[in-house]
Amino acid sequence: MSNAAAQAYLNTRVSVMSTRLFAPELIERLPRMTLAELAEHFGLSAILDEQPSAATRGRAIEQSLLQVLMSELQVLARPMNASERSLVLAWGRKYALFNLKTLLRGKLYDLDQQEIRDHLFDLPDTIRLSHQELFRAENALELLRQLETGPYRQIARQAREVYEKHREPFALEGAIDQRYYTGIVRQIMGSDNHHLDSLRRLMGAELDRVALLWLLRFRFTYQLSASETYYQLVPSTRLLTRERLLHLVNLDTFERILEALPAPLDSLLADSKSIGEVQQRIGRYTQLETRGILSRSQSAVARALAYLMLRESDLLMLFAVVRGRLLQFPDATIKAALELTQPSCAESRAA
């Protein structure tokens, strides 16, 4: 298939699949839907299964929603050329990294094997981490040795310190997320000129969001020093660049950081009272940017990635509602959770 034909095919595919994105009315109705309605509307019959516990049912639903996302990712990746496919798969590999984090945490704290296994996502071969030996490791030391010989050998030293000094693996998981985003940025910078601008815009908006939230959390929630906070951040390709971040982390109050943000983030986030509010506002902004790419971009690959990000956001919302219903939370709590559910939040599971 020629490049033009592949682009046309992919564009058509994305346009057809975009009809699956949740309409605003459905998002509005979502927190009020009962389990039976959710099961009927989204074909999630496992919700109504009375036998297993709510946690087991929740995991089954999470897995089935993930499978929906992964199968759509594979459908979109199929007509792409090798480098485009590699970028889209790299984006989807965050779920393999969730598995890696679960595994590291589980092994370092000597959790039950079955419990670790229950919390691992079942992923397609193209997304799964290649070093399966990690999964077969029977104790922490063996796992660390495996880690040191695989593609994650750079974080192995940190992992060893976490294990030997019984530290909280927060920094370790931060390093994994950091590698994830820098890997994607590297791939985008090496992509074809035709896609470069759109991909930079798309991933730049996402990285701006991630960098700002991490900055605020590390500085003011975890009280890390400016240098330690800066080290954990991933500079964006758009607004929050390396130089801007160096300036921002040195500011000592929440308000000063918001004031010092570049346009349009400064006006968008002005007068925010908490990190939660910032998360909501910048999340909405990122969604708008992503939708803009989906509807207007010339790059089929950027559109495909934008679709996947929005679809992931929808599925995360749906999962939040299902889990809320399974745990019998009141409607107001579920609605509040929905407002906080954000797309592509690699830290959402780790935190």
Binding site: E142, S227, E228, Y231
Partner: protein, 632 residues
């Protein structure tokens, strides 16, 4: 030999506790191909083999890890067959787990030694680098009143971020060397409170301190000697650790070999896991068995199982045809040709196995296109020479060489020389038209046989309508024969003939009508598709027939190439002549031989297989005892 081996679907009901015995009995017959479909009875929904399989996988993984450190030379002979029950497998798994825990500590020790050696190497490289600098290295080791120094390694990918973080902590980072995926850096900053800010950053950046040795005022040669001694000491420690491990592991070798043997015996039940279902004490398994082996299988079960069982067998249903495995032809002579057929696909159950026909037609075409006694002999001898490297394929080369030699005798050609041997038939270049006619006749025969086989295959799978009206079916064959008849008339008498024309038009209209009837699309689209398909039928059969002209074209090409080489050689002196003839023959052998091989494969796949061979079957893989362990 062309016909597929008839198969039966068998269903076995045994008591769950008898499953290991049943698996051994089934494996011993080597005639049971498991069917993984769940049984129709919904109550048979438990998975009795799952725990066994998981225990087996863990035990096998443990054994593989242990034998990485305690290698086992011998592979156990499968020897006496016995049943490995779940308790025995669990006990073995626990023992292997305990042993791995101990063995793992040796691996950790080796790992530490590797780390230490790497650090010494980096230290050595760093100091070599420092010798070019005019600085007091003692300064780098000591913390001064106002400054502190961090000398060490950092992964290159963390460098840029660390540089920014260090500057925020009031430090300067200087890279003095880059080696592999690490950078050697010196970080200098004010001593005091800021140290606490930098420490977690260094940890997060995987910074590894590089100790600066004491007594740096000594001669560089002495320092290098120190490093060499350190590395020697590490090598001795490694050897000593290896000796300790060998001594420690020695008593376990026999037991590890026995463990490998036990796992080999446990494997059949693990393989069956996907097709096992149970309800309470009743276990169900199903599979495909060659019809002639069913009685033998039943007898095997009767001799092995002490508790009652029920074995029923039936013919495969039409809807199961795609699930039935195909037993491959067992013939040493045909094995290399089967490999090439399998590149296209495996015959579906009921289909004619094309391997024997493929072998004969392949050799005839190859011989005719590359007929030369000398070249054929070289190919056959080269294949014989490579028989140890290509034990499954060398016969292919031998046969191709012999075929080439036979046609070489017919054409009277030895290494391109046509004057040495009298041709038993004639040289291709003496009557090219006859050669083209022979190739055309061969092609027509080939296509007609392919169509007949396609018709037979459709009848065999119970599709008589398809056999008559589908593409390459009976009506299509009728069109082809009428088309040839008309074409022959046109060439000999100048007239296509009324009857052939009526037959051609009639058969084409019949094909079009059948296609129209089976298409579900708007009328315009249907008309377009049917018109194009009908035109395609005419073009495809005409071009496919002409495609076989290449058989004679390559035989002519072979002679022409040889002539070209001799002409070139004739222009040289005596030494140049010999060299040109030798190199030319090598050129013909490699290039023309390769091209002819590809052309014959193309004729087989496109003109032959596409007419009669679906290739969408799957191979019969019976349950059997592995003769060699996976981990060996």
């Amino acid at each position: 030999m062309l016909m597929p081996m008839p198969m039966k679907h068998v269903r076995l009901l045994v008591l769950t506790e008898d499953l290991p015995q049943a698996s051994m009995a089934l494996a011993a017959t080597e005639s049971f191909h498991p069917d993984t479909r769940p049984p129709t009875e919904s109550r048979l929904d438990a998975l009795p083999g799952r725990e066994y399989r998981e225990t087996f996988s863990q035990a096998q993984s443990r054994l593989a890890k242990i034998t990485r450190l305690i290698p086992l030379e011998a592979t156990p002979d499968i020897g006496a067959v016995r049943v490995v029950d779940f308790d025995e497998l669990s006990a073995l798994n626990v023992w292997l787990g305990d042993l791995w825990d101990e063995t793992s500590s040796y691996e950790e020790d080796f790992h530490r030694l590797d780390d230490t050696e790497r650090l010494v190497r980096e230290q050595q490289a760093a100091l070599e680098n420092f010798t070019h600098l005019n600085i007091d290295l003692d300064m780098l080791r000591n913390k001064t009143r106002f400054l502190e120094f961090h000398v060490g390694l950092v992964p290159r990918e963390n460098l840029r971020q660390l540089e920014g973080a260090a500057s925020l902590a009031g430090h300067i980072l200087y890279v003095y060397m880059q080696q592999g995926d690490h950078a050697h850096v010196v970080i200098v900053g004010p001593a005091g409170d800021k140290e606490s800010a930098l420490a977690p950053v260094l940890a997060a950046a995987s910074f590894q301190t590089l100790p600066i040795p004491l007594e740096l005022d000594r001669k560089p040669a002495e320092l290098q000697q120190d490093f060499a001694n350190q590395r020697l000491a590490i090598a001795e420690q490694r050897q000593s650790l290896q000796d300790t491990l060998n001594r420690w592991g020695e008593p376990f070798r026999a037991k590890l070999l026995a463990a490998r043997h036990t796992l080999m015996l446990a494997e059949p039940l693990v393989t069956l896991d996907a097709s096992l279902r149970s309800a309470g004490h009743l276990a169900h398994l199903a599979g495909w068995v060659p019809a002639r082996a069913v009685a033998h299988l039943e007898q095997g079960l009767r001799e092995t199982l002490t508790l009652p069982f029920d074995l029923t067998s039936r013919d495969p249903r039409p809807d199961e045809r795609k699930l039935v495995p195909t037993v491959p032809i067992k013939s040493r002579l045909l094995a290399p040709f089967a490999l090439l057929v399998n590149q296209y696909g495996i015959p579906a159950y009921g289909e004619v196995d094309p391997t024997p026909l493929f072998a004969v037609t392949f050799l005839l075409m190859f011989g005719m296109m590359f007929g030369d006694l000398g070249h054929g002999a070289v190919i056959a001898l080269a294949a014989l020479w490579a028989r140890n490297k290509l034990p499954k394929f060398y016969l292919f080369g031998v046969f191709a060489g012999i075929s080439s030699m036979i046609f070489g005798l017919l054409f009277g050609s030895v290494f391109g020389y046509e004057e040495i041997l009298p041709a038993l038939w004639m040289s291709p270049l003496h009557d090219p038209i006859l050669m083209l006619e022979v190739a055309l006749g061969w092609g027509i025969g080939f296509i007609v046989i392919a169509c007949l086989l396609g018709i037979y295959n459709r009848l065999a799978i119970g599709d008589p309508l398809g056999a008559v009206f589908e593409r390459h079916g009976l009506v299509n064959l009728l069109f082809y024969l009428a088309f040839l008849w008309g074409g022959f008339g046109l060439a000999t008498t100048g007239s296509f003939g009324t009857l052939p024309a009526l037959l051609v038009i009639g058969s084409l209209l019949t094909l079009a009508a059948f296609q129209w009837h089976h298409l579900s699309a708007p009328t315009g689209e249907k008309a377009l598709v049917v018109a194009i398909e009908t035109l395609d039928t005419v073009i495809v059969y005409l071009s496919n027939t002409l495609s076989f002209l290449r058989v004679s074209a390559f035989s002519l090409n072979h002679v022409a190439l040889s002539l070209a080489i001799f002409t070139l050689a004739g222009m040289m002196g005596s030494f140049g002549h010999v060299v040109t003839v030798i190199l030319g023959n090598v050129f013909i052998l490699v290039l023309e031989g390769g091209i002819v091989m590809i052309q014959v494969m193309r004729l087989q796949y496109y003109e032959g297989f596409s007419r009669y061979f679906s290739g969408d079957g799957h191979a019969f893989l019976p349950l059997r005892l592995r003769r060699e362990s996976v981990s060996s």
